[in-house]
Amino acid sequence: MKQYIGRRTAYCLLSLFLLSVTIFFFVRVTGDPATLLVEPGASEADIAAIHHQFGLDRPLWVQYGIFMASLAHGDLGQSFYYRTPVMELYLSRLPNSLYLAAVAMLLSLLIGIPSGVLASVRVGGFWDSAGKMFTLLGLSVPSFWVGLVLILIFSVYLGWLPSSGAGTPLHLIMPAFALGWYFAAAHMRLTRSSMLEVLGSEYVKLARLKGLPQSLVIAKHAFKNALIPVLTVAGINLVIMVKVAIVVEVVFAWPGIGRLLYEGITFRDFPVVQGVVLMGGAMIVIVNLVVDILYAVIDPRIRLES
């Protein structure tokens, strides 16, 4: 078991290392941040001064070394644009993104699971079709558009909700919906096929034979079992949501990581981009690691297979 965990952890570190190298060199190919921090037409001396200030005039491998060395201390460097430590920026925005993703996930499950159940049970019924249509629509429109239309309807015309920013639960509703609608469809599909499989299983057939009423069969037996794969996927989707939220964050001026990353790229703020991507990568890798370990704990066959 220890060997398994050890191997998995080693692979994780390898992934992260690869990621750090990739992102480090990638950002530097995208352009020169100095040109964005001065007026066009600034002197060569000004630009050179900025290069020096950010350590960009040193050889690449030296820059990388410095980067990795500070990383070992938990220091992600200093943002070019904000001139504050990246770790601080990241940690101050992360809760907002997690908060948004959590609510969006909740919404997507609240919409997706019931429609999936309905779709599997009453195939062809009105609610089934309506539910399916609604969720599938979420897959068919870009989230920025959903966001803009929501702002138009609920903020400007109806005046019910605040248009942007964060602060109160009211601020959360529209962005969460814009973000979560897309995933609702994925969850609906999964619930539906999962339910179908369980409903066809021996276990349920036996329950029916025993004479249990249909609704009880569904609620007690089928549903719980069908939920397992859905929740597994939901876990991974949560992390993905944090990433995909860039667009929603830009539209709603939500102070999350997505916006931080987008602005970092636009301003060629290397440390910010490196930091956010690395932290995001670390999150995914760690989540995967934990899931893998849990699987291994539950199912011995997995850890014995080399």
Binding site: T30, G31, D32, P33, T35, L36, L37, V38, E39, P40, G41, A42, S43, E44, A45, D46, A49, Q53, Y81, Y82, R83, T84, L89, S92, R93, L148, I151, L152, S155, V156, G159, P162, S163, S164, G165, A166, V250, V251, F252, A253, P255, R259, L260, E263, T266, F267, R268
Partner: protein
């Protein structure tokens, strides 16, 4: 994001005698504090178009952009800075003067000028702020200053190594070196600490900052010029334009920056909201980088002139900036020193077609690629249509801003470029960067222009220098080296709660200022 800069000096700066005379007449800018100051009250909220960076709270780090000044005018104050009606108004300095030989400048500090923590502003702070400055052009300005003397707490003398007519403009507007921070405090908390809790001498003091979200400021009632009328200022960052307008419409913010195109129309139509356009000193133009290549059709001046004649500037102005831009025939902003007024460009597609035919292209020509910054794609698309109408066919290649600037500067672009600049300076500096050999964005040059430029660089007589620069600009226009389009109108908006918004008070300043003059309606 429009990049624009504060104007440079128009005309000459006062000599010691002039200053004494003005002081005597009480005409030096800076109304003395009224004896009965009204309590500041209320709050105004801004929706700004960029993310606030803590580096803007520290004048020592002013980059070459204009955006930090939207905050600097509130938090800090300078010895001399642009104010309503005066491009170089003495602020923290009560008066200033230059020696006859141009080698030294003296400043007298205003009595009673205080920092937010109650400390008085002294000569030591002025000297410290200058030496601490490390933003744009800092090596340039520091190189030319031989020494700074502080004979007493209210007098500062800058001694230059050589006469430099532009010293004051650089000190007052181009750099942050003239914006004063408290020495004892800054040294105590260090640079990082200073950015977290800045202290300045401006009309508003720092309360809190949530990165990427909002900045909160409160009125400083001991500001020398006047007590601000609004008690609290909140700056919210809303980069997405439509969301910004929505916030203004809902009253979540009172003032917004940068509303373009159709949204500006909507703003105009909404009752209670006012459109606040400001003319930015940022001319836009079409550049012909191929004109020095004899094989290229652009080497023929007639072809270039045809392109310029094909552009319907007025229609574009109305369509894209609601008519608030100012059509121009020069790449040098109207407000720059040594600006020469060229003949206004006209719209004449028939004449353009004739010129093309004369130059050997009766059926139009394939002009290759047309590069632009993708945030100005709408302007470029309109231009493309105009050119198409007279037979010049091009393919638009919008580039993301950073990539565009870099490619432009590294001479990687060709055929046609839509460019613009809000850089600070005067006609000479603009020519240096965009026309004369060796300039950052120069793809080729003409020997006669280069020669003239060299001449004016060493000409100390202001009038004669102006004449040389006029001649240079005439050649620029005659030869259609550029096809200038307009100076961009920067459109902002104000809501119903705003009394005096602060827009347009300071010439060439795109944002609201001075902050102490901003009021709520009804107060």
């Amino acid at each position: 994001m429009v990049r624009d800069e504060q104007s440079s000096l128009i005309g000459s700066y006062p000599t010691r005698r002039d200053v004494l005379a003005l002081t005597a007449l009480g005409l030096v800018a800076g109304v003395p504090r009224s004896s009965f100051a009204v309590e500041p009250s209320g709050q105004l909220t801004w929706g700004i178009h960029v993310s606030l960076a803590p580096t803007w709270f520290d004048p020592a780090e002013t980059p070459g952009l204009i955006t930090p000044f939207m905050v600097l005018y509130a938090l800090h104050d300078a010895m001399v800075k642009p104010m309503p009606g005066q491009p170089l108004a003495p602020c923290l300095a009560e008066s200033f003067s230059a020696s006859e030989d141009g080698l030294s400048y003296e400043f007298v500090l205003r009595k009673g000028a205080k920092f937010h923590n109650g400390d008085p502003v002294t000569a030591e702070d002025v000297k410290y702020s200058f030496e601490r400055y490390r933003g744009t052009s800092h090596d340039l300005i520091k190189e030319r200053v031989a020494s700074i003397e502080t004979p007493d707490p209210r007098h500062i003398r800058f001694a230059l190594k050589a006469p430099w007519p532009d010293f004051l403009t650089f000190y007052a507007t181009a750099t942050g070196a003239g914006w004063i921070v408290p020495k004892t405090y800054a040294e105590k908390v260090g640079d990082d600490g200073f950015k977290k809790a800045p202290i300045g001498a401006g009309p508003y003091r720092f309360v809190s900052f949530t990165p990427g979200v909002e900045l909160v400021l409160e009125a400083f009632d001991q500001y020398w010029r006047k007590t601000p009328s609004v008690k609290r200022l909140v700056f919210k960052s809303i980069p997405e334009e439509t969301t910004r307008l929505a916030a203004l419409q809902r009253g979540e913010v009172d003032i917004v920056y940068s509303i373009r195109g159709e949204l500006a129309e909507e703003l105009r139509r909404t009752p209670g909201l006012t459109l606040k356009p400001v003319l930015s000193p940022a001319p836009f133009w079409v550049y012909f980088p191929d004109q020095w290549d004899p094989k290229s059709p652009w080497s023929d001046e007639r072809v270039r002139r045809a392109a310029s004649l094909a552009i319907d500037r007025e229609a574009m102005n109305d369509a894209i900036t609601l008519g608030y831009s100012k059509v121009t025939g020069s790449i040098i902003p109207y407000s720059f020193e040594f600006f020469w007024q060229p003949p206004m460009p006209s719209y004449d597609p028939a004449a353009a077609k004739r010129l093309l035919a004369e130059a050997g292209h009766p059926n139009g020509l394939d002009a290759g690629e047309f590069y632009c910054d993708s945030s100005y794609s709408n302007v470029a698309e309109a231009l493309l249509d105009n050119l198409q109408a007279i037979g010049i066919r091009t393919k638009l290649r919008p580039l993301e801003r950073a990539a565009f600037i870099e490619a432009y500067a590294h001479k990687k672009l060709k055929n046609l470029i839509l460019g613009g600049s809000g850089a600070f300076g005067n006609a000479a500096t603009r020519l240096e960067t965009y026309v004369v050999k060796g300039g950052a964005y120069v793809y080729g040059s003409y020997p006669d222009i280069d020669a003239l430029y060299q001449q004016q660089a060493v000409e100390l007589n202001h009038k004669r220098r102006g004449e040389i620069l006029d001649k240079t600009q005439q050649i620029l226009a005659k030869r259609t080296i550029y096809a200038p389009i307009w100076q961009l109108g920067f459109i902002n908006g104000a809501g119903p709660r705003v009394g005096e918004s602060g827009f347009g008070l300071i010439t060439d300043f795109a944002y609201t200022g001075p902050f102490e003059d901003i009021t709520l309606k009804g107060s």
